[in-house]
């Protein structure tokens, strides 16, 4: 197993923008031996996916490989003919995309898509390939492997779809699979199943893999070696254990240290204090489908309450009830001890002002056709009536608070800002209303870890300066650890457990909290193995489901 499978030497890749070619990858070497897993990490825009695709000799539209060599098992992929590449791709090299839901054709059954590559490449007949597919589904611990292939993509869950996609990549027993962030879109509890499944099957077949991700803890479980990319250049590369214990470069160290940010929880509020926002036995439904049952919790002045749970647990619905977008069917939401009208249209301007929201996707939360000055200036004008010069000064002041100088950024459009900067503008817009209470809906989950940490620090500072209260909706427990004072755990529209942060992270837990906590990947490369052993399953598969029940 010492022979070389893939060798990329001094690869340079350029992308076309505004009539000129801009470098994306600036001379990267990459070597992969047979049966080896290489982790490729870096923040968004580092060129991870571009490099991953280039390993297949492929580039997206408007992108070209401008220099270097890509050699797969002795074949130069840059000069190979289209026919040669057709023989390789899908047969000896396979690709697993980030969003399985977007990558499957919704109009065909899973097994029909599974058999396409083997049949096309002539490695198996349709019947053989179907039998093999069912065997792969079994090995990947998909529930009901004999039947699941005959469903359509929308009839199975996201985690199952991602495993079916891995099975599909395995259909021709390729020598190399490129995994492009296969678990990024999944919940922590689902992520574990997929990670374990991928790791098992790659080991079983001795397949080499390039595993692209921005999550260090994930890559630590999967990879033999890790390569860190920054702005199209290699920062460093080392064996996984060596890299984790002794990173050499400053950038790598900063990536490793991100999770260190932790704020001590504030003391519990006085028992007779009136909470800023109080949610009392709220029940709500979308049409006839009930989504929240008897949800109650308080948020006190200057405190952060983190609401955690996987998708579909009712976190965001709770936020919609508090803002009045979804009127509750029973229960009450109080602001400063006064009950709020259920429908936001019936609330007074001042009540609306007190509750602000920061959204997950800064891209859709800022109007792309308004400048930053307009976006931040509108709530200033709307709530305080300031105009002209006074308004401009107030906007500059707000921009100062979010650490983006108005002189440089006020006249830009959102598209001219980075993801982290956009999120800061979202914060400034919320602050412009001078609220007491801000709902932060997954505000850091779309950001790179370094940038996310910056946002968390900013929110913490603003809370101290302005005595704000936050309701922090998240599925990331690392974020909870760093910023929350109190934690509310939700599942299926109910509050499972709630309490002070310190108590929540100390056993004993509600079984669901336990599952959630233990599912968060840790930097220890043995974490996944140990966890699986602990949960008493050799190959995890449906372990997560089992422990919920």
């Amino acid at each position: 197993m010492t022979d070389l499978l893939l060798e990329m030497h001094d690869v340079q890749i350029e992308g076309r923008s505004d009539e000129t070619w801009m470098p994306i990858i600036k001379g990267v070497d990459l070597i992969l031996k047979k049966g080896e897993v290489l982790g490729l990490i870096g923040e968004s825009g580092a060129g991870k996916s571009t490099l991953g695709l280039a390993a297949m000799g492929f580039t997206r539209d408007g992108v070209r490989i401008s220099g270097g060599t890509v050699t797969f098992d002795g074949i130069d992929l840059r000069t190979a003919s289209a026919e040669t590449k057709r023989q390789l791709l899908g047969k000896r090299i396979a690709y697993v995309a980030q969003s399985a839901a977007a990558s499957f054709n919704p109009a065909h059954k899973l097994i029909d898509q599974h058999t396409e590559a083997p049949v096309q490449h002539g490695t198996a007949s349709k019947a053989e390939s179907m039998a093999d597919g069912i065997e792969l589904y079994r090995r990947l611990r998909l529930p009901d492997p004999d039947e699941i292939g005959f469903r359509y993509p929308h009839q199975v869950s996201g985690g199952q779809l991602q495993r079916a996609m891995t099975a599909m990549a395995m259909a021709t027993r390729p020598d190399l699979i490129i995994f492009d962030e296969p678990t990024t879109a999944l919940d922590v509890t689902t992520q574990i199943e997929v990670l374990a499944a991928i790791r098992d099957i790659v080991e079983q077949f001795g397949t080499a893999a390039i595993y692209i991700t921005h999550d260090l803890a994930v890559v630590a479980q999967m990879a033999d070696r890790i390569k860190v990319l920054l702005k199209g250049e290699e920062v460093e590369e080392a064996e996984t254990r060596e890299m984790l214990s002794a990173p050499k470069e400053d950038y790598t160290k900063s990536l490793w240290a991100v999770r260190a940010f932790q704020r001590p929880a504030k003391p519990a509020p006085a028992t007779d204090a009136i909470p800023v926002v109080s949610v009392q036995t709220v029940t709500a439904a979308y049409g006839k489908i009930p989504v929240l049952h008897d949800v109650s919790f308080d948020i006190h002045a200057g405190r952060t309450v983190a609401v955690v749970g996987e998708s579909g647990s009712g976190k965001s619905t709770t936020a919609r009830v508090i803002t009045g977008l979804l009127p509750q069917s029973a229960g009450v939401v109080e602001l400063d001890g006064e009950p709020l009208p259920a429908d936001y249209r019936k609330r007074s301007k001042d009540q609306l002002r007190q509750i602000q929201m920061i959204y997950q996707m800064a891209d859709t939360a800022l109007n792309p056709r308004q400048t930053i000055a307009e976006i931040v200036g509108r709530p200033v004008e709307f709530y305080t009536g300031l105009k002209g010069h006074a308004k401009r000064n107030r906007v500059a002041e707000l921009m100062e608070q979010i650490e983006l100088p108005a002189s440089e950024y006020a006249d830009r459009l959102p598209s001219e800002l980075s993801g982290g900067q956009k999120q800061r503008i979202g914060i400034a817009r919320a602050l412009a209303a001078e609220p007491k209470f801000i709902i932060c809906d997954e505000v850091t989950s779309a950001l790179d870890q370094l940038v996310a940490e910056g946002i968390l620090r900013l929110l913490a500072r603003l809370q101290d300066d302005l005595n704000l209260s936050y309701m922090f909706i998240t599925h990331d427990l690392a974020t909870v650890r760093s910023i929350a004072d109190e934690v509310v755990v939700m599942k299926d529209g109910r509050v499972v457990e709630q309490g002070r942060k310190a108590e929540m992270f100390r056993p004993p837990h509600h079984p669901y909290t336990d599952l959630l906590l233990s599912s968060v990947p840790e930097m220890d490369p043995d974490w996944l193995t140990n966890l699986l052993a602990e949960r008493g399953v050799h190959n995890i598969g449906d372990a997560a489901a089992a422990s919920i029940k």
């Binding site: 003919s81 009045g324 977008l325 936001y344 609306l352 959204y359 859709t364 509108r378 817009r429």
Partner: protein, 397 residues
């Protein structure tokens, strides 16, 4: 019978030509990827295109007369080639001028402009100027009748022309050039007003339906469905006929504008509602709603700026359709009423001359002038809209 042999023979020889060309390319370039990976179908396409170019050049070089009789195909083909070449040169000069004259902003716009867009803008500009200054430009009045009827276009006395009327006169002796110029004012002006009205109606109601949803959306959408269920040309014919019972002359023209605008606004409604629906689910709209913003602010400040790209594209297309509808109605005698000059009516009035096309291209060109004016504007507007869309890249998403 010969066609059964000829077509496959031509096909086979083109295929052979493509294959040979690809082989030659491979040999000459030392197997460069362009030639090596070229499918035979693509090579055939190149051969076919080459054959078309050769045929075009050959036709252009043919003598214009055969045994003293003019050859219409050669003459029309030459006109088309000359016109295309002149258009390309004009667009090129126009773009060159735009790059050196004007403000920094316009200079920058011209620098990245494709030739088609430059041509479109030039044509639209010329039409606009002609329409506005028709009274000064036109040598004669639009309803002025001269004694010399049926003068052949071209101004060549030997072919029945008259230098006084460079584009000839119609059957009752009105100057075609003057009527074309006034037609720009009448036809284009009315079409523009109609399109604006249709967009005002359809856009406002569409965004309103998207924002309010619920019963407002239901009522408006079903109403639009009912209007769209009736074939539009027949429906407008019917309504105009009904309207003609009460009004006539300029009043009928006004009625026609309203009727076409209402019928066309259903398409605009559909589009703006669909586009609006995609925008109102955005978080920034939710943020504005939660701020307590009113309906006017939501529609005009938050939604409209994000819908301009698709609406602009639709405006270009819709304008062409409205324009063609008006021409069609005029052709049927129900549109713009005489004595006002209108291109649709002109095509109808002179249509009999098209029969001369085979042996007297000069005479046959009379109705083609007005038809050409319609076609040219349609093409130009679409060029401009395409370019604007590409710039704002609103439809790429």
């Amino acid at each position: 019978m010969s066609a059964w042999i000829l077509v496959p023979a031509v096909f086979a020889s083109l295929l052979a030509l493509g294959w040979a060309g690809r082989l030659a390319g491979q040999k000459a370039t030392g197997n460069a990827p362009t030639y090596r990976d070229m499918p035979l179908a693509v090579a055939f396409g190149y051969a076919f295109a080459l054959a078309l170019v050769v045929a075009g050049v050959w036709l252009y070089l043919q003598p214009a007369t055969l045994d003293g009789a003019p050859r219409a195909s050669v003459i029309f083909w030459r006109w088309a080639v000359h016109f295309l070449a002149a258009s390309a040169v004009a667009a090129f000069v126009f773009r060159l001028a735009g790059r050196h004259i004007g403000t920094e902003g316009t200079k920058k716009a011209f620098r990245n402009m494709p030739l088609t867009a430059a041509f479109g803008i030039l044509v639209v500009l010329i039409y606009a100027l002609t329409a506005i200054f028709a009274g000064w430009i036109a040598p004669h009045g639009q309803s002025q009748v001269f004694a010399t009827a049926n003068v052949v276009p071209g101004g060549n006395a030997a072919l029945g022309g008259n230098p006084e009327f460079p584009l000839g006169t119609d059957q009752i002796g009105r100057d075609i050039l003057s009527r074309l110029i006034y037609g720009a004012q009448n036809t284009v002006g009315i079409a523009f007003a109609t399109t604006l009205l249709a967009f005002f109606l359809g856009g406002t109601l569409g965004f309103l339906a998207a924002t309010l949803q619920g019963w407002v959306d239901q009522v408006l959408s079903r109403l639009v469905d009912v209007l769209m269920a009736i074939p539009s040309l027949i429906f407008s014919l019917l309504l105009i006929t009904v309207a003609s019972a009460w009004v006539s002359g300029a009043g009928l023209t006004a009625a026609m504008v309203v009727i076409i605008a209402v019928i066309d606004s259903t398409r605009v409604f559909r589009l703006s509602r669909a586009v609006g629906m995609n925008i109102v689910v955005m978080d920034y709209i939710e943020a504005a709603k939660l701020r307590g913003e009113g309906l006017t602010y939501l529609i005009f400040r938050e939604i409209l700026p994000n819908a301009t790209a698709p609406l602009l594209a639709e405006f270009g297309l819709r304008f062409c359709f409205v324009f063609l509808t008006i021409s069609a109605l005029s052709f049927l005698g129900l549109g713009i009423q005489p004595p006002l000059a209108d291109w649709g009516t002109m095509v109808k009035d002179l249509s009999a001359f098209i029969n001369y096309a085979a042996f007297a291209p000069q005479i046959a060109s009379a109705p083609l002038l007005a038809a050409g004016a319609i076609a040219l504007l349609t093409v130009a507007v679409n060029f401009v809209v395409d370019w604007m869309l590409q710039r704002s890249s609103g439809l790429k998403e």
